[in-house]
Symmetry: C2
Subunit: 579 residues, 2 copies
C-alpha cells in the first residue's frame, strides 16, 4: 500500500521545539515522528511508530535466532514480588506506585526480574527444562528525576529485556556469549556505531557485565577506549595501572613544615617549589574524607587517598563501594571529629583515629608524598607509603584522564561520550534464591539455577539512530528501519509528471518496496525537497525538471544524486534497497 | 522456524485454576496461553502472545484497508486533558490515578478521546486535511470492580480504538459505515459468531450507535434478536411497542377498595380474582419510586409506571435517564415523604405531590389499571390513563421478555447473552468542542469537526474465540490466529518415526507452514494427544502405529481424522491451511 503525503497524518515543523536540546529530539519532533504528551512521555505518530516497530522486529529476529522465547508481562504489577526482593523500597522515587480501588499497592514495572523468576519457578521443575531464555519487548515505566532529550530518556519507554536460566555457571557463560553475539548482530544490522564496554556489575551482583554504548557526544555516559582498540570500559569499570613499588631503604625521613595558606593542592605545590623541591601536583597526596553507609548500618568515615593531580570521581567511588552509599563528609562531621583538620588531613591522623583508609592503586609501598600533617598550617614532605603510613586497601576512585595508560598495556586511554543502548550481565542467583527456585538436577538433588540479565533500550535506539545519522537538513534512516524505503517526489507541475509519479509509486509498491509518495498538488518543489530531507527516507526518486526528457533523479539521503532514465528507476531502487 | 515442545516455555495443567468459572478462562490457563499476575492482570505466555499478535494483525489490516492510520499514545497520561472533559472525575473508581515524583496527577488511560482530539487540533487546521481516521492498538487500564473471567474482563487489556474526524455529518455517516464494514470483515475473518445490536449512545452523546456482541452464554450483556433475524439490539436499546389507545368514554368509574394484605402484585391479583374480576398481573400498574440525580443537581424523586407483570430493569432505566444517575428510593425517602405509602403508591398521589411520573409505553390513554390508592390497605380499580391520571412522559424501563413483539413488526424477540467485542458510534462534537478544535472550511469559516468513535476489545477477542470454539478436550483456534497452523505429533517410539517427524516438520516449515512439533522423547502418545487437543491447533499430523506402513493421521481439531500416505502430508496440510 502506498502512503501519500496528501493524506498522511503529519505536520512537519520548521522550528525546533522549545524544550529540545539534542538533535534527535529536535528532529524527531520536527519531522512528526513523536509528540510530547507529558514530561518524558511521548506519543508515536504514524512515521515514528513504523520505525519503532521495525526496530522491535530486528531485535525480535535476533533474539529468536539464539533460541529466545517471547512472552509479555503486564506493566501494572502487584507489590508483593517486589517487596520480596526489597525493590519496592530500593527503587525509591524512580518507581511509579499506585493503589487500586481496593487499596492494594501496585506499581508500573520498571524491570521484570521478579516476574520472570516467579514464572520459571511456577512452570519448571527439572534440569531437563533448562537452559531457557525468555524475553519480552515491553513498555516500561521509570519516574526519572530529569526526563530529557525526548525519547532518549523517557519515563514511559519500550525495552527488550531477557533472562537466561541455567543449571550451571558454564551454561550461564554460554547464554551470556549468545546474547553478546545477538546484541552485536542487532546493533550491526541497525548500523549503530557502538563500543562494548566492560562495566561494573553494581548492586545487581554477579560477575561478567558489559554495556553497549552508542558513541555520541550527547551521551550521558563517559567511557574509555584504548588507543589500540582492544579495550573499552565505562569509567566506573576502568582498572588503574598500579604504581611501581620502590625500595623504602635509603629514602630520607619525613619532615614536617609550617605551610601557611597552603590549603589547596595548587598552593601546596607553590609552597614546595618555593622550598626548592622539584615537584608537581602528582607528588602530593590528597586525603578525601567521605561517609559510607552500608545497607542497614550507620554511616562510617572513610579516607580516600589519591594523587594530588587527580580529583575523586564520585561515580567511580560510588561504583567501587556499592551496595553501600557514599557522600562527602560535611562540616558537621569535621566538627564532630576534631582530628580532621580541613585542608591538612593526612593518612597518619586518619589511621591513628581508627578511620579506614583506602588508596588509589598508584599509592604503592615506597612511594613518597607531600601531604597533610593533621594540624593547622602543617604539611609533611617525604611521607613514604609502607613506612610512615599503611592503607587498609586500594580503591578505584580517581578520575580517569585522556592519555592514562590502558590497564593491560593496550596503549593509552581516550575518553568518549556514549548512550547506553544495551547491557548484558551475569546476574547469578540473587533472584532465584529470593524466590526459592529449586530445580531437580541430574542426580536428583535440588539446585538453584543461575541467571543472566540482558536489556536493550528499544525506543531509545530510535533516538540514537537519529542522533548518529542526521545532518543539518534532517534525519537519515538506515534502510532496515526507515518508515519507508523510498520517497517519491513529484516536483514538476505537469499533469504528466503527477501521472508518472503515480505509476512509478505503483510499480515500486508492486515490487515490494515501501513507498512514501509526495503527491501534494499545491506544494512547491522546494518545500517537498525540504520535507524529504527532514523525514529522512534513505532514497528519494524525484520527478523534476528533466522529467520531460525521461530522466528522474535518484537521491541517496546524505549521499549522491544520480540522474537515470525513468524506466530504470524501479530496478535501481530495488538494487539500492537490497544493499 | 519450528517450535519444539521439548523446549517451548509451556506447562499444561490437568486441573482447572481455582478462580476460573468460564471455559475460556479455564482453558487458556490450563493450555499455558495466559497466567494471572494480579486480579484482572495477566501475563501472555509464548502461545498466547502469538495468538494475540495475530488477532492484532487482522484488526490492523482491516483498519488500514479503510484508510485508518495507526499511531500509538502513551498509557501514562497527564491529568489536564481529562480534567478539561471532566472525565478525571466522571470515571470515578474505574480510573487508575497516580502521582509522579513532582506530585503531578497522572492516570493510566482507560480510553483516549482527549489525546486523539488534542493531537488532531495541533496538527490540522484546514478542511483539506479531512476526513481523517486514526487508530491505535494499545494497552488500556480500567480498575474494574469485579475483574472476572480471565482476559474477558481485565484491568489491563489490549484495545483497538479509532476515531474519525469529518467536516460534515454526511462525512461522519460514511466513516461510520466504513468502520461497520471493517468490523464485519474482522469478525468474519476471525470466525466469531456475533450480532450487530442497536445500542443506546449513552453518556457519550451522539446518534448512531451499534454494538458487536459475540454470542455466548457466559456473556455479561443481554441482547434481543427478532425471530425474523432483521433486528438485534441490546436490551437498553430495545424500543417497546406502544399499547393501543382506547376510548375513555363509556368506561366505568374508578372505585377504591379496602385490600388488606395485598401489598404485592401477586396478592393484589388474588384479591381482585376473589372479587370476581377477570384480571392478571398485566392489568395492574406498578408504581416504582426512584431517585434521579442529574449532573451537579440534587436528587429528585421520580415515579416509574410499568404493567404489574413486568419488573423495572434498572439497566434499561439507567440507560434511559443518562447522564443522570438513578437509584431506588430508600426507607428514608419514604419517611421524608409521608404521601408515599409503601405497597399502595399510585399515580394520583405522585402527581398530587409534584413528583414527576414517567410511564411504560403500554400505559397509553384509555387503558384501565388496578393500582395503589395512596393510603394503607387501599387500592383502586378501573383507574384510566388520560382520565384519572396523567403522565409526564414515557420511558423505556420495563424488563424485556422472550416473546415480546419486535419493535417494527419483525416477529417476536428472543433473548440471548453476548460479550461486547466492538462498539461503533457517532460521537459528534462533544470532544472537538471541549478542545475548541476550529477548522477552516471551504468558505474560509471556522467549523468544528464531528467525530466517530470505534473500539474493539482485542485481548478479549482471544477469550471470545476460546469461549465459542472449545470442546471438553480443549481449545480449537481458527487457522488465521492459531499460534501454529499444524501440530506434528510423533506417537511412535521407533527412532525412524522421530526422524520422519523431524523431516516432516522441516518440510512443512519450508512450505511456509507454522509448525509446532511434539518431539518429546519420553512422553506417552496419550499425553501428547491430550496436549494437542488442549492446545488446539487447527490441524495435527500424527506419526503413530500405522507409520510403519507409510501412513500418517491428519486430524482436524474438532473434526474428522484422515489416514493419508506420509508423503502426501505436506500437500494436504497446505491445502487445509489455505482453506
Amino acid at each position: 500500500m502506498i502512503t501519500r503525503l496528501s493524506s498522511l497524518f503529519l505536520r512537519t515543523l520548521r522550528e525546533d521545539p522549545a524544550d529540545a536540546e539534542v538533535p534527535s529530539h529536535k528532529l524527531l519532533v520536527r519531522a512528526g515522528y513523536i509528540r510530547r504528551a507529558a514530561p518524558g512521555v511521548y506519543s508515536w505518530l504514524p512515521l515514528g511508530l513504523r520505525t519503532l516497530r521495525k526496530i522491535e522486529d530486528v531485535v525480535r529476529e535476533e533474539m529468536n535466532a539464539i533460541g529466545g522465547q517471547e512472552l509479555l508481562f503486564p506493566a501494572l504489577l502487584p507489590r508483593e514480588p517486589y517487596e520480596r526482593t526489597n525493590r519496592w523500597t530500593e527503587y525509591g522515587d524512580h518507581l511509579f506506585r499506585l493503589k487500586d480501588r481496593k487499596d492494594n499497592d501496585m506499581l508500573l514495572g520498571p524491570t521484570h526480574e521478579e516476574m520472570f523468576t516467579q514464572t520459571v519457578k511456577d512452570l519448571y521443575s527439572s534440569y531437563k527444562d533448562f537452559p531457557v531464555t525468555l524475553y519480552q519487548i515491553q513498555t516500561k515505566y521509570r519516574d526519572e528525576e530529569r526526563p530529557r532529550a525526548g525519547i532518549l530518556r523517557g519515563r514511559e519507554f519500550v525495552m527488550k529485556d531477557s533472562y537466561s536460566f541455567d543449571m550451571s555457571d558454564a551454561g550461564l557463560d554460554e547464554s551470556y556469549a549468545a546474547h553478546r553475539r545477538a546484541y552485536q548482530a542487532i546493533f550491526d544490522r541497525l548500523g549503530v556505531s557502538y563500543a562494548i564496554c566492560q562495566a561494573t556489575s553494581g548492586a545487581m551482583g554477579g560477575s561478567a557485565s558489559e554495556e553497549f554504548l552508542a558513541v555520541s557526544e550527547n551521551g550521558e555516559d563517559t567511557f574509555v577506549r584504548a588507543t589500540d582498540g582492544s579495550y573499552a570500559a565505562n569509567v566506573e569499570a576502568v582498572v588503574t595501572q598500579p604504581g611501581v613499588e620502590k625500595p623504602i631503604e635509603g629514602q630520607p625521613e619525613a619532615v614536617e613544615y609550617d605551610t601557611p595558606d597552603a590549603e589547596t593542592i595548587a598552593t601546596l605545590v607553590e609552597w614546595a617549589r618555593g622550598e626548592g623541591l622539584d615537584v608537581t601536583a602528582a607528588d602530593t597526596l590528597k586525603c578525601v574524607v567521605v561517609k559510607v553507609t552500608a545497607p542497614g548500618e550507620e554511616p562510617e568515615l572513610l579516607g580516600v587517598l589519591v594523587p594530588g593531580d587527580r580529583e575523586v570521581d564520585m561515580k567511580r567511588l560510588a561504583a567501587s563501594l556499592e551496595p553501600s552509599e557514599v557522600a562527602m563528609a560535611e562540616d558537621a562531621d569535621f566538627r564532630k571529629n576534631p582530628f580532621l583538620v580541613r585542608g591538612y588531613v593526612g593518612p597518619r591522623g586518619l589511621a591513628a583515629n581508627g578511620v579506614r583508609v583506602l588508596a588509589d592503586p598508584r599509592v604503592v609501598p615506597g612511594t613518597a608524598w607531600i601531604t597533610g600533617a593533621d594540624a593547622p598550617n602543617r604539611h609533611v614532605v617525604g611521607l613514604v607509603a609502607g613506612r610512615d603510613f599503611e592503607v587498609d586497601g586500594y580503591i578505584e576512585a580517581a578520575k580517569i584522564r585522556e592519555g592514562d595508560p590502558a590497564p593491560e598495556g593496550q596503549g593509552t586511554l581516550t575518553l568518549e561520550r556514549g548512550i547506553e543502548i544495551g547491557h548484558i550481565f551475569q546476574l547469578g542467583r540473587k533472584y532465584t534464591e529470593a524466590f526459592d527456585v529449586q530445580i531437580l538436577d541430574e542426580s536428583g538433588k535440588r539446585s538453584v539455577p543461575t541467571m543472566g540479565s540482558y536489556g536493550i533500550g528499544v525506543s531509545r535506539l530510535m533516538a540514537v539512530l537519529a542522533e548518529q545519522r542526521h545532518d543539518d537538513k534532517g534525519l537519515n534512516w538506515p534502510v532496515e528501519v526507515a518508515p519507508y524505503q523510498v520517497h517519491v517526489v513529484v516536483a514538476n507541475k505537469d499533469a504528466a509528471a503527477m501521472e508518472a509519479g503515480e505509476r512509478l509509486a505503483g510499480e515500486l509498491d508492486d515490487a515490494g518496496i515501501e513507498v512514501l509518495f509526495d503527491d501534494r498538488p499545491k506544494v512547491s518543489p522546494g518545500v517537498k525537497f525540504k520535507d524529504a530531507e527532514l523525514l529522512g527516507m534513505p532514497f528519494a526518486v524525484v520527478l523534476g525538471r528533466s522529467f520531460a526528457d525521461g530522466i528522474v533523479e535518484l537521491r541517496v539521503r546524505g549521499g549522491e544524486t544520480l540522474e537515470i532514465p525513468a524506466d530504470e528507476a524501479v530496478a535501481k531502487v530495488q538494487e539500492l534497497v537490497r544493499g
